[in-house]
Structure formats: structure tokens, C-alpha cells
């Protein structure tokens, strides 16, 4: 008989299942649930982008591309970054096209982190950073951010966890799940702290196109930061292209070369059809971004007002497509709140703890849904909160 305990390394066997996964498993066994759980756009990829992909297939473009990706796609990424964020990267050796932002995060961590290194992970955040760091042999340092700072990273918080072993800081802004962003004035003190260290930065900017009212600012735009920063970008959120699995890294040549080695052995190249779609998106998709962003913005305002009326305290998120209301105050943990809401009102939202312990007391609500769907869910949340208030009396 096969002893799987011996077969599977302890490092992998002990990796925790993501909190969202556990919650999604609950959902799968229930019918007629109004879910606000999905972390992907509800738009379909714009037709002109899909058409470009179809055309590439019609012309038989079914080959591998170069490891780093089609040169034309890399050139378009460089133009896009210059056009929209005033950042310059060389398509020849500083841009690498990856299988989604996820692979980009993976190769960045693996290229920079080894045993003994500490990686600072501000939380709440997307669920993949800590497991990837662990798999790379590093030590995740969980840094809880605070609602009173609108879940922004502060200088004091960063200083409190910096050590001689710190190798990498993850900057996951605009943030999933909190919707927090880091403005120029927020990044400046962080940059000041980092300047005197050798710490590298993984700036996960997958939601860069989804900021509301304030432009996204990359840490790489600060003096002295570009040479130590890996920007992770992608097409999933900006162009509603999640299923195409396409992202990229932007990093100085030396770091790019290191990531390139991992990418070429593990992945070979990103899907060719997706790369052709990406060229079209980058050339002619700016208006699509604006259209979707306006739609998200309306829903954002709508849901924040709805939650506030219900009595769930909720700071107005400034990026991504999530709100992160406070659900404590009813004598329930986040998980209990979400589970009871699911069972009693058939409305699904994700417990804040799925994104780190500091998410306790909060829940993530995605507004990548139609207004009528959001309205139905809000009615369920309202009924549930009223029930909880009655129970408290």
C-alpha cells in the first residue's frame, strides 16, 4: 500500500487549504444561493479581443512563442505602462509574459526568496503569497493592517516587522479583499524606510486599472525603487480576461533573468492564443477599461450605501471590486456570521479571516455582479442583520 504521508513532503502536506476554498465547498452543496463571492469580473472579454484570438487560430498561430512571450505583446505592454502609469520597461529584457498574475507572483518569489529569508506580507490579502513563500523555503511574516488606517500599510507597521532577514516586501495594492489603495503620500514613507535596506518589493498591481477617483501609483515610480521592484500585472481584471490566464512581470534585467529561468523550465511560454488577444487588448482596449470601471464604480457606491443603511460599518473602498464591511458587534466571528447568513438567508459572502487573521470581524463582498443581483443580496443581508439585532435584545 502506498504511504502518501511519506510520498508527499511535509512542507506541502501541511500547507493550509485556503479559507475561501473551505467556504466555497460549503456553497457547492447549496442551491439558489445569491453569492457575492466571486473574485472575477462579470463582464465577458470584449468582442474585438476575442476576435483577435479567433483570427490568430484561423491563421494557424498555434505554436509556442519565445519563452518571454511574443515580442509584439511585450512591446505593447511597455507602451501601455508608459501611457497609463508613466513607467518605462524594456521589452527585450525587463518584461516577461506569464500564465496569469499567479505565475508572475510565483516566479518572483522563487527568484528572490530562499531558506532563511523573511517575506513581509501585509494582511488581509490575496491568499497565495504565504503558501508560495513557504514553498520557496522562506518565512512568511504576517503583518496585520488596521481598519483605522483604511487597511493601508504605514511606516510604523513596516518598521515593526523589518529585520536583517527581511528579503522581500509584498505590496498588494489595490487590495483584495479590502479595496484599499496606496496613494503617493502613503507610499512615500514606506519608500523612505526601504531606501536604507536591501529589501526587494513584489508589487502586485493586478487591480491597477480599478482605482476610483484617485490614480494608481506604483512604488516603482519612486527614486531608487524601480531597481528592486517586481511589478505583477495582468489582463484578468482590467480587460475581463480571467480565463485567458495571462499576466506579466516588470522588473530590472537582473531579476527578470532570474525569473526567466524558472519560467522557461516550468511553463515554457504563456498560451499563444491569449498573447494575440492581449496585443489587441493593449492596442485598442483603453475604452473597455473605462467602460467597466465606470460600471464598477456605480455598483461600489450603491453597495456601500446599501451596507451603511443596513448598519454595517464600511469604509468606501478605493480600488479593486470588493467592499470589506465590519460584521463584528453581533457576538459572532466572521466565519459564524457568514455561515449563518448563508444558511438563513442563502446569501454568500466570504469571511474576512480567509485573507488573514487580521480579517477577523470583517467580510469580503464582491460587487462584480449586476445591480439586481446585488439588490437581492442586500435584502438578505438586511433581514439577517435585523434578526441578529433582535437576538441581541
Amino acid at each position: 500500500m502506498t504511504d502518501y504521508k511519506k510520498l508527499i513532503p511535509e512542507k506541502i502536506a501541511t500547507l493550509p487549504t485556503s479559507g475561501i476554498r473551505k467556504f466555497f465547498d460549503l456553497l457547492e452543496n447549496m442551491k439558489d444561493v445569491t453569492a457575492l463571492t466571486v473574485g472575477q469580473p462579470d463582464f465577458v472579454t470584449p468582442w474585438h479581443i476575442r476576435e483577435a484570438a479567433i483570427e490568430s487560430l484561423e491563421h494557424g498561430k498555434t505554436y509556442y512563442t519565445s519563452n518571454a512571450g511574443l515580442m509584439e505583446a511585450r512591446r505593447e505592454i511597455a507602451r501601455y505602462m508608459e501611457r497609463r502609469f508613466s513607467l518605462s520597461y524594456h521589452p527585450e529584457n525587463e518584461i516577461l509574459i506569464t500564465v496569469g498574475g499567479s505565475e508572475a507572483i510565483d516566479i518572483a518569489v522563487r527568484a528572490l526568496v530562499e531558506a532563511g529569508d523573511e517575506v513581509i506580507i501585509p494582511e488581509p490579502c490575496f491568499v497565495c503569497y504565504a503558501p508560495i513563500v513557504t514553498m520557496a523555503g522562506g518565512t512568511p511574516i504576517h503583518l496585520p493592517l488596521s481598519a483605522k488606517n483604511k487597511f493601508k500599510l504605514t511606516e510604523e507597521e513596516l518598521r515593526s516587522v523589518l529585520t536583517e532577514k527581511t528579503k522581500l516586501l509584498i505590496l498588494p495594492f489595490p487590495n483584495n479583499p479590502t479595496g484599499a489603495i496606496m496613494e503617493k503620500k502613503d507610499l512615500a514613507p514606506i519608500v523612505k524606510v526601504l531606501k536604507d535596506t536591501g529589501v526587494a518589493i513584489l508589487s502586485d498591481e493586478i487591480y491597477a486599472e480599478l482605482t476610483f477617483g484617485k490614480p494608481h501609483v506604483s512604488v516603482a515610480s519612486f527614486d531608487g525603487m524601480r531597481e528592486r521592484t517586481v511589478i505583477v500585472g495582468g489582463f484578468s481584471k482590467a480587460y475581463a480576461m480571467t480565463g485567458w490566464r495571462l499576466g506579466y512581470t516588470l522588473a530590472p534585467k537582473e531579476i527578470s533573468e532570474a525569473m526567466y529561468k524558472i519560467h522557461q523550465y516550468a511553463i515554457m511560454c504563456a498560451p499563444t492564443t491569449s498573447q494575440f488577444a492581449a496585443i489587441e487588448a493593449l492596442k485598442n482596449g483603453d475604452a473597455d477599461i473605462e467602460y467597466m470601471k465606470e460600471e464598477y464604480d456605480r455598483r461600489r457606491k450603491y453597495i456601500v450605501e446599501g451596507l451603511t443603511e443596513i448598519g454595517l460599518e464600511c469604509f468606501a473602498p478605493e480600488g479593486a471590486f470588493y467592499v470589506f464591511p465590519k460584521v463584528s458587534g453581533f457576538g459572532l466571528t466572521s466565519e459564524e456570521f457568514c455561515e449563518r447568513l448563508l444558511y438563513e438567508q442563502k446569501v454568500a459572502i466570504v469571511p474576512g479571516t480567509a485573507f488573514g487573521e487580521s480579517g477577523e470581524g470583517f467580510a469580503r463582498i464582491s460587487y462584480a455582479y449586476s445591480v439586481s443581483h446585488i439588490t437581492t443580496a442586500l435584502a438578505g443581508i438586511k433581514a439577517f442583520v435585523e434578526q441578529l439585532k433582535k437576538e441581541q435584545k
Partner: protein, 159 residues
């Protein structure tokens, strides 16, 4: 306040309170603007798109291309104003190109529509020719795709 019109064009059931929340205005402001749009005719009507193929109701639609002799001083308006009065006609547009006016006609049967064209339209003095095409299936109307799946097929990836 043009945003209000775009939102209502997309979903006329949105309430003033909902629109107000979405665009960051007060409910009173939005209700006032809508009332003004209704009063000055910018908002013409609130209707519902119905896929009649999903009901038992028998309905036949036809697109009619009319060639028309324009009237002195009134151009095409006079004939259009006359056509407006027929309940069978649901849409009237003045066109550029190879014909002058496009009508959409609805009736219970092909025969009823054909009768209308033959008995009411064709005899009109200023109409010089008609070309009738029956609608076989509607795929998209007013920007809305018919028969599209309402099911949310997005996977629950732990994102």
C-alpha cells in the same frame, strides 16, 4: 445628469434612490431630474422587452421598406404622421439609401400582416412601392441579447 438617462435606458426599473446611490446624488435630485426629462419628452416611455417566443402568444413581425413620393413643403413628415396612427405599426424610421421609410409591423398571422400591407399601405397615394420581409427569429434587440444564459458560470476559484 446624463448618467441617469444611460442607467434608465439600460434598466428602467431602477428607482431614484438606487440611481442616487450609484451616482452620488440625493434621491430628490435624481427624482427631480427624471421628472424634468419626462416633462420635456427626453424620456419618451418606459417599456419592457419581451421574448414572445417563450410565451403562447402568436405574433408575427415584418420589416416593410417603403418608397415614397415626398410632399411639397412637408417632405416625408406628412406620410409619417399618417402612418403613426396605425396600431399595427410599431416602428417608423426615415432612412437614407435605397428606400425611404422603414416600418416594423406586428400582427397575429402572416396573413394579417400581408393584408395590412396590401389593403392599407400599398393603396396610399404617395407610397410608390413596398417590400416586406418577415422576421423569423430575434437574436438581439435594443442591445439586449435574446436567449442568452442567465446562469452565472464563473468558477469559484479562491481569488
Amino acid at each position: 445628469m446624463e448618467n441617469i438617462l444611460k442607467l434608465l435606458e439600460n434598466d428602467s426599473r431602477l428607482t431614484a434612490a438606487q440611481i442616487a446611490a450609484m451616482i452620488g446624488r440625493t434621491e430628490e435630485d435624481v427624482a427631480g431630474a427624471i421628472a424634468e426629462y419626462e416633462k420635456n419628452g427626453t424620456i419618451v416611455a418606459y417599456k419592457t422587452l419581451i421574448d414572445w417566443d417563450k410565451t403562447d402568444r402568436e405574433i408575427v413581425s415584418a420589416v416593410i421598406e417603403l418608397k415614397v413620393t415626398p410632399q411639397r413643403d412637408r417632405g416625408f413628415d406628412k406620410i409619417a404622421e399618417k402612418l403613426i396612427n396605425y396600431n399595427e405599426i410599431t416602428s417608423i424610421c426615415l432612412m437614407s439609401g435605397s428606400y425611404d421609410i422603414q416600418l416594423i409591423i406586428e400582427g397575429k398571422t402572416l396573413r394579417e400582416v400581408a393584408q395590412f400591407v396590401a389593403m392599407k399601405l400599398a393603396p396610399m397615394e404617395c407610397i410608390t412601392s413596398t417590400a416586406t420581409s418577415f422576421v423569423l427569429k430575434k437574436y438581439k434587440d435594443k442591445g439586449v441579447i435574446y436567449a442568452s444564459s442567465e446562469e452565472d458560470e464563473r468558477g469559484n476559484c479562491p481569488v
